[in-house]
Symmetry: C2
DNA sequence: ACAGATTGGCTAGCGCTGCTAGAATCGGCG
DNA sequence: CGCCGATTCTAGCAGCGCTAGCCAATCTGT
């Protein structure tokens, strides 16, 4: 038994090594730099080792996404907790969300942009994903009007943030009016 | 002179041929199927011919995007013209926009998702892009509150639509509540 | 009408990608 | 020690975007 568990432990450790290396490489040089060869060199193993842990590159990105989403959830929670008042909480969460996307674009892309088959809106979605959504929900819920379904309203608000983030990063929206757009969004959602 | 112009005409025609073939192939089988080899075979020329017309594959996608955006602009205009009342016009434009994204995902991606260095928010942006934005602007402007900058409000509304579209297509938002989310968005923007 | 210049398309190939089959090597066990 | 199974590596496949350099067809000037 013992040698079996040791092996499993080593395997798990190496899996973490892969995910961490992929995340660091992506955040340092972008996802284009994360090739299977480069990643294998980074962890000092050969390429096929990656495929004994993950089905393919996309699966590695998905693992990075889940891990990174925990960071986002934590930031959102902190921002929401530090804010006083419902409108302020919503603004704080929105600002934190877009700030996260700006500070850690590679991570944001893995979580929200890259085509990936993670279960998202179901109950068997990975915990960090559900936690991040819950943070948004807790901020949006109080400003829901009568008849608004909080879940759907949260999704809509989230989509708006996501749209702003992606359009700005691709250069389709100019960066300079970022805060004013965010203010307009909050204004229309929080009713003012 | 005449033979020069004939050559230019032929060149222009072949350029159109390339863009059209790329668009059709993308819409039929997705952008992954649009490789330079496949595209060259489709137009019955060799690969390097593509590079005498475009700097690279991205430039071809950009050309498809501009051409496709004219379609979108036309659809938006028609929807807006057919609607009575400001709120109805906004809803019609929003529905048309998301419908376009659903019906023609490859085209939508080329225009709004794919990383591309088209000038977007400046005055030297290609005409179809400006026209599409203008259609949105004309629908959003009437619902702008006092103090709202119409341009920025339009951008924000556009971003929300874009976010809904991309999150739904990647499976991060379930499809089933599509219309209710759109209704929530309109409700909060048009002041309901 | 013919030789020379020029334009322009094609063949072939480079360096890279994600991924995998099969050889080789390492570890535990009788 | 010698075997045997699990594991890791070497080597290679098919495909990608892109380009250098040859070759042929076309136009120009005598």
């Amino acid at each position: 038994m013992s040698i079996q568990t040791r092996r499993e432990r080593e395997r798990a450790e190496r899996r973490r090594l892969i995910v961490t290396a992929a995340q660091e490489l992506a955040e340092a040089e972008g996802w284009d730099a994360v090739t299977t060869r480069r990643l294998a060199a980074e962890i000092e193993y050969s390429q096929p080792v990656l495929y004994s842990h993950f089905k393919g590159k996309d699966a590695i990105m998905a693992a990075v996404a889940v891990q990174g989403c925990a960071d986002l959830a934590a930031e959102l929670r902190q921002a929401r907790a530090a804010a006083h008042g419902t409108r302020e909480a919503l603004a704080a969460v929105a600002e934190t969300y877009t700030s996260f996307a700006r500070r850690r674009p590679a991570l944001y892309d893995a979580i929200f942009t890259h085509p990936v088959d993670l279960p998202f809106a179901t109950e068997d979605a990975p915990a960090p994903l559900r936690e991040a959504f819950t943070e948004l929900l807790l901020a949006v819920e109080p400003i829901a009007a009568r008849g608004d379904e909080p879940d759907l309203l949260t999704e809509t608000f989230w989509a708006a943030l996501h749209g702003l983030v992606t359009l700005m990063r691709s250069g389709r929206l100019p960066e300079h009016a970022r805060e004013r757009r965010l203010a307009l969004l909050i204004g229309h959602f929080a009713g003012g």
